[in-house]
């Protein structure tokens, strides 16, 4: 087996516990696995911002401007250089299979999140984007979780978000349109939580039409 990320031969680690268990299919080498660096305490209880005690400034601001429409966000990894590189290769170069290196960790985090059983919704991509990338990253993640999702949204304009400043992004116009309301609690799934604006745009529309609670699950924060 080769490491999905660096392509070197994986040398299986043999310890007493792995010795007795049936061999698992390793997807990444020990060195790459070590760099995954899951988010751990302390983090903001609202948005999972790593290395932060208590509710962070951004979350406080959201609470002030709109009584917050988002229950909470759970993220798995800090969006550091290592993960940025993987994301660039996965999403922008289109190396679909790379996301498998996160599978085990995000499945575990998903089970512990308390989101299981809620209606899963993936963030939609514009037609233009999906043509160029060939896949929707949120759906890829949901596939890894073994869940099924719906997308009751449509994009009214496309996602050239990263080009704008942070402040701009926090107050930009809602690019989504809700086509179908839901009365069940939902969890929105996407790859990255940056300002939380995208997710709150969707959450606001859902709440307005009677959805009891909206949370989100993102791989990176």
């Amino acid at each position: 087996m080769r490491c999905l990320s660096c392509h070197t031969e994986i040398i299986p680690e043999v310890t007493w516990s792995t010795f007795w268990k049936p061999p698992t299919k390793d997807v990444a080498c020990l060195l790459c696995m070590e760099k995954l660096n899951e988010i751990s305490e302390p983090f903001c209880p609202q948005c999972h911002r790593p290395d932060h005690k208590g509710v962070c400034k951004d979350c406080q601001l959201w609470e002030k401007t709109h009584t917050d429409v988002l229950e909470r966000n759970v993220s798995v990894f800090p969006y550091n250089e290592f993960h940025k590189d993987i994301v660039a290769r996965w999403k922008y170069r289109g190396d679909y299979v790379l996301v498998d290196i996160y599978k085990e960790t995000i499945q575990r985090k998903w089970s512990a999140s308390g989101f299981k059983g809620m209606q899963v919704i993936h963030v939609p991509l514009s037609e233009e984007r999906i043509q160029e990338r060939g896949f929707n990253q949120a759906e890829a993640i949901i596939g890894l979780l073994g869940e099924r999702s719906i997308s009751p949204f449509e994009r009214t304009h496309s996602e050239k978000q990263s080009k704008r400043g942070k402040r701009d992004r926090m107050y930009s116009k809602n690019p989504f349109q809700l086509i179908e309301a839901t009365s069940k609690p939902v969890v929105l799934v996407d790859d990255i939580y940056t300002t939380g604006r995208t997710i709150r745009h969707m959450a606001a529309l859902l709440k307005e039409t009677g959805c009891p609670s909206v949370s989100s699950f993102t791989i990176f924060r």
Binding site: R89, R93, V97, I130, E132, G134, F135, G143
Partner: protein, 471 residues
């Protein structure tokens, strides 16, 4: 079944159309592109396909036991993966190996562009007024003959500092006179950047294009292309004359995909010219069995012999290196050397050791810096050394090729280490004595026991010097 196995095992390019109608799109000529790399409307593309100026070809060959990507030649199973492909609604195989250059997916074709574009004829393209040495002249003649005949190969085995670019000028001229298309491929971006202005100066009226990872030029629509070997992944049956620089070097040597691409980029009737200072075993075998014609340039352009390395046994070498220090004998030699006007290049087996020894020498008040592959200040440090802003440069094998300084002595510390193979040692020794103003230079290999690689390197240098004297 037998046929399929054979097709898989051999490099097979029979899928490239042999009909090449003439057209007026230089940027498509001899190309193998993804749809999004063709900046034309669908209507025009369809029109070009109808005229077979563009031909859609399968991008990934599928065998019962494996795949092959036709752009990069990759057949390694772990370098292919499947994905649910939203564009076509199927689960599709894609190539992970060449994905940096845009993703090749099995359901999407590659577009081959006819090589039928007619390149301009240049009557007197070369403005270079320099003179060639006897050895250079002989090689240049043989290359002109090769370009005239067309199909064939020749290895130019030229010592470091032979002036191998200049010997190409006459064959390049010959090609340009006849409207032939030329590619000079080299493994390193630095070399491409350095060659462009030199060649442009010698061939001022010719459209020459440099292609590398982030080159300003991307079109690849010139009759004379200088490119990193990687860029050949976008070409097929494009060139009449193909010059491959440093065939023995990383990443060309052992990198199957670049061999695949360079073979495909040449036309079936192309003249192939390989340049090297240190042929690998495989090439030497082909030379011995008279399978690969060779021409030697055993002498430097300034006519002086190559400095022969002195081997110095230094038993306690490792004990000192472990303490991040140099053996007193070596330190003594450096102190001595620093009294002379020459600068010093010091080679160490690893980046860590290079940094430690630079630090060690700095503490002893030497003007010293170290440089390694990932060093961001690399180009600046090398430039400063060339301008003689400091006296000692400590480095690893990354500086073994290409980079030249006019007047240096060269010491290799722990020359028996595995990173110093024969080719590396010959290249390292070749850094000394490059300038006609100071054609000598001391090369010392410090070791704890002679290795075959060291002895082979010395033999090969002696051999070249003997050949040089004979003629």
């Amino acid at each position: 079944m037998f046929k399929t196995v054979k097709k898989y095992l051999q490099k097979d390019f029979s899928w490239i159309p042999s009909e090449n109608p003439t057209h007026s799109y230089p940027s498509l000529t001899g190309k193998l592109l993804l749809r999004h790399e063709i900046p034309l409307e669908d209507e025009i593309v369809d029109h070009l396909i109808a005229q077979t100026i563009l031909t859609k070809v399968t991008s990934i060959e599928s065998y019962p036991w494996a795949y092959r990507c036709r752009r990069c030649g990759n057949t390694k199973s772990y370098m292919f993966a499947k994905m649910p492909h939203a564009t076509c609604g199927q689960t599709c195989v894609y190539c992970r190996f060449c994905i940096q250059m845009g993703r090749v997916v099995a359901c999407e074709p590659l577009y081959y562009g006819s090589s039928g574009f007619e390149w301009p004829l240049h009557e007197h393209p070369c403005q270079w007024k320099g003179e060639l040495t006897v050895h250079q002249q002989k090689a240049a003649d043989e290359l002109v003959a090769l370009v005239r005949t067309g199909k064939g190969e020749k290895l130019v085995w030229a010592v470091c500092g032979a002036g191998k670019t200049e010997i190409l000028f006459r064959s390049i001229t010959e090609a340009l006179k006849n409207g032939k298309r030329i590619c000079l491929a080299t493994p390193r971006t630095d070399v491409v950047r350095e060659l462009l202005p030199r060649l442009q100066k010698s061939f001022p009226k010719v459209n020459i294009q440099a292609l590398y990872g982030d080159s300003p030029d991307k079109a690849g629509d010139a009759p004379f292309i200088i490119a990193t070997t990687h860029q050949l992944l976008r070409f097929a049956h494009a060139f009449d004359v193909m010059v491959i620089d440093e065939v023995d070097a990383f990443p060309f040597h052992n990198d199957a995909s670049l061999h695949y691409a360079s073979e495909r980029a040449a036309k079936p009737q192309a003249s192939m010219i390989y340049l090297t200072a240190t042929p690998r075993k495989k090439q030497k075998r082909r030379i011995r069995s008279k399978d690969l014609p060779v021409v030697f340039i055993p002498q430097r352009f300034h006519g002086h012999p190559l400095p022969v390395p002195q081997l110095k046994l230094t038993p306690a070498l490792h004990r000192y290196l472990q303490k991040a220090e140099l053996h007193p004998k070596i330190l003594q030699q450096i102190a001595h050397q620093q009294q002379t006007p020459r600068q010093l290049l010091l080679f160490l087996p690893s980046v860590k050791m290079a940094e430690q020894i630079a630090e060690y020498l700095k503490e002893r008040n030497y003007e010293v810096r170290s440089v390694h592959a990932e060093d961001r200040g690399r180009a600046g440090k090398i430039q400063a050394f060339r301008k003689k802003e400091y006296r000692v440069l400590v480095t690893t094998t990354i500086l073994e090729r290409g980079v030249t300084f006019p007047s240096v002595d060269v010491y290799v510390i722990d020359a028996g280490h595995v990173v110093f193979d024969e080719a590396a040692l010959v290249q390292i020794a070749g850094r000394a004595g490059r300038s006609p103003d100071d054609p000598k230079g001391d090369v010392i290999f410090y070791h704890v026991g002679k290795t075959d690689e060291m002895l082979d390197a010395v033999d090969s240098i002696h051999y070249m010097n003997r050949l040089g004297r004979k003629l």
